[in-house]
């Protein structure tokens, strides 16, 4: 009975067990954590009908050959600046349409040019060149 009231002897815990656990935690955080900050871009895709009260949209055609042309009432000569695209679109809504073989990077480069110039655009369906 007296044994119940005896003060408990403090028993030292071995540090080996502690460091085992800490090492496992360290491995977990080293392997799962990432230091890269990913950025994302909201993708406004054009709906099936993009015709607005301003009339049909101006299509910015992105060719696989890196040419950019604007299709309104007629097809323009290749353009290379957002200002030229904005001027040719004549205030209409701009929809980017890429050739089927054009790459994602080519599309984004055009979106980037327009975005930097403050020109709003949406992504439309791709087109196929005749005879391809």
């Amino acid at each position: 009975m007296d044994a119940l009231f005896l003060p408990r002897r403090s028993k030292k815990i071995s540090l080996t067990a502690l460091i085992d656990v800490v090492f496992i935690l360290l491995m977990f955080f080293m392997l799962t954590s990432s230091f890269t900050h990913w950025q994302s871009l909201s993708l406004p895709s054009a709906s099936a009908s993009t015709t607005t009260q301003d009339g049909p949209p101006a299509l910015v055609l992105v060719y696989a050959s890196n040419d950019i042309r604007v299709l309104t009432d007629h097809l323009s000569e290749p353009v290379d600046s957002a200002q030229a695209i904005a001027a040719l679109s004549n205030g209409r809504k701009i929809v980017i349409s890429a050739e089927e073989n054009a790459s994602v990077q080519q599309i984004l480069s055009v979106m980037n040019i327009l975005d930097h110039a403050g020109v709003e655009s949406t992504l439309g369906q791709p087109f196929q060149l005749e005879g391809k």
Binding site: S14, L15, F29, L41, L43, S45, Q125
Partner: protein, 129 residues
């Protein structure tokens, strides 16, 4: 005999204290500085875009490889099954498209999501540097 000289397990434990200190510091560094989040496939070359956009928070990841294969959270799916995989509930989707994927391949994914106002779609972009 020097009374400070310890023997046995106590002495070996004392030698471990600097090691534990360093390991604890490393642990705290990785816990505080690192982020645990989904990572895109290493084989995907992200397209570049110069922007000051906010950091992406990847909830559901849709991957489009350069050869047109589509993966939903690293599980390969056919484009025809994508609509059922996405479901009818409102979600936030992050599209991880290879920069060399074609517009046609991108359209095959976007056509499924087009018209779904409840889906917030964003494209993951790489560092321009």
């Amino acid at each position: 005999m020097n009374p400070l000289l310890k023997h046995g397990s106590t002495a070996s434990d004392d030698n471990m204290i600097p090691l534990i200190n360093i390991v604890f510091l490393l642990l705290i560094f990785f816990m505080v500085a690192g982020q645990i989040q989904k990572r895109p496939d290493e084989s995907i070359e992200l397209p570049t875009y110069q922007t000051d956009a906010n950091d992406a928070v990847i909830e559901k990841m849709l991957t489009l490889t350069s050869d047109g294969r589509v993966r939903m959270n690293n599980e390969e799916v056919a484009v025809s099954e994508l609509a059922s995989m996405v479901g009818r509930s409102a979600i936030s989707l992050t599209l991880v498209a290879d920069k060399n994927a074609t517009a046609k391949q991108l359209e095959s994914v976007l056509s499924v999501l087009r018209g779904r106002d409840d889906i917030s779609l964003s494209l993951l972009i790489g560092d321009d540097s």
